[in-house]
């Protein structure tokens, strides 16, 4: 069965600090990888996704993630966070065989102080 681990449950940063959120997955086949963001009281929004090709993917709002197949990892990064990045971030995976359910990690709650 697929599973996703997010190591940091709560992260507190000051504005302009760099961000890296860890995500590891467990699955025996080929997967698609996603990072979603959930702002307080809002729905899940897609930040970025990896299906194939270049393992370094760029998403919206200056976020990027790197897929390292050998480490089963898909860490999210941002060079300089803003107060508006305060949100919960979910890593998710699904099978690369079409319309498959997403399996989410437990989420990382990021608080950026001004």
């Amino acid at each position: 069965a697929q599973s996703v681990s997010q190591h940091n449950h709560h992260v507190i940063l000051s504005e302009a600090a760099s961000l890296e959120l860890g995500c590891n997955y467990s699955y025996g086949g080929t997967v698609n990888l996603f990072w979603y963001v959930q702002y307080p009281g809002q729905h899940l929004q897609l930040l970025l996704k990896y299906f194939s090709g270049d393992p370094l993917v760029k998403g919206i709002k200056g976020f990027e993630a790197e897929f390292i197949k050998s480490k089963f990892s898909f860490n999210l990064r941002k060079p300089s966070v803003q107060w508006s990045d305060t949100a919960e971030y979910f890593c998710a995976v699904n099978s690369n065989t079409g319309f498959q359910k997403l399996v989410f990690g437990t989420g990382t709650r990021l608080l950026v102080s001004p």
């Binding site: 698609n32 996603f34 979603y36 809002q42 729905h43 899940l44 929004q45 897609l46 996704k49 299906f51 979910f90 699904n94 690369n96 065989t97 079409g98 319309f99 498959q100 359910k101 997403l102 399996v103 989410f104 990690g105 437990t106 989420g107």
Partner: protein
């Protein structure tokens, strides 16, 4: 661009009552997923439909049922509600027929059972 629509946005029910949640996918999307997100939890997959047929089933209680209609909208029916059913229920849609891996989430229905 049109997004996934969910109704109602908020619902308050008493124990043992029934509730019906509706999801209207993005136009031309043929696949619908339902997820449940409990307080402080990650979203958990409940059930999905492709072309009006159930395509996958997750941790959905027997008290819940769902279906997808000819216009591709979906309804989640919940009976004998329990306090533990209080959660945010997300619907997501995708273009499954094209093996599209990206799911677009709706704003969710917040169900409170008292």
């Amino acid at each position: 661009a049109a997004g996934v629509i969910q109704s109602p946005r908020h619902l308050i029910k008493e124990k043992r009552e029934t509730a019906t949640l509706k999801c209207y996918p993005i136009p031309r999307h043929d696949t619908v997923y339902w997820y449940q997100q409990g307080p402080g939890q990650d979203p958990q997959f409940l059930i999905s439909f492709y072309e009006k047929m159930q395509s996958d089933k997750g941790s959905i209680p027997d008290r819940f049922s769902a279906q997808q209609f000819s216009d591709y909208h979906s309804e989640l029916n919940m009976s004998s509600l329990e306090l533990g059913d209080s959660a945010l229920y997300f619907c997501a849609s995708s273009l499954g027929s094209r093996k599209s891996y990206e799911q677009y989430f709706g704003p969710g229905t917040r169900l409170t059972v008292t």
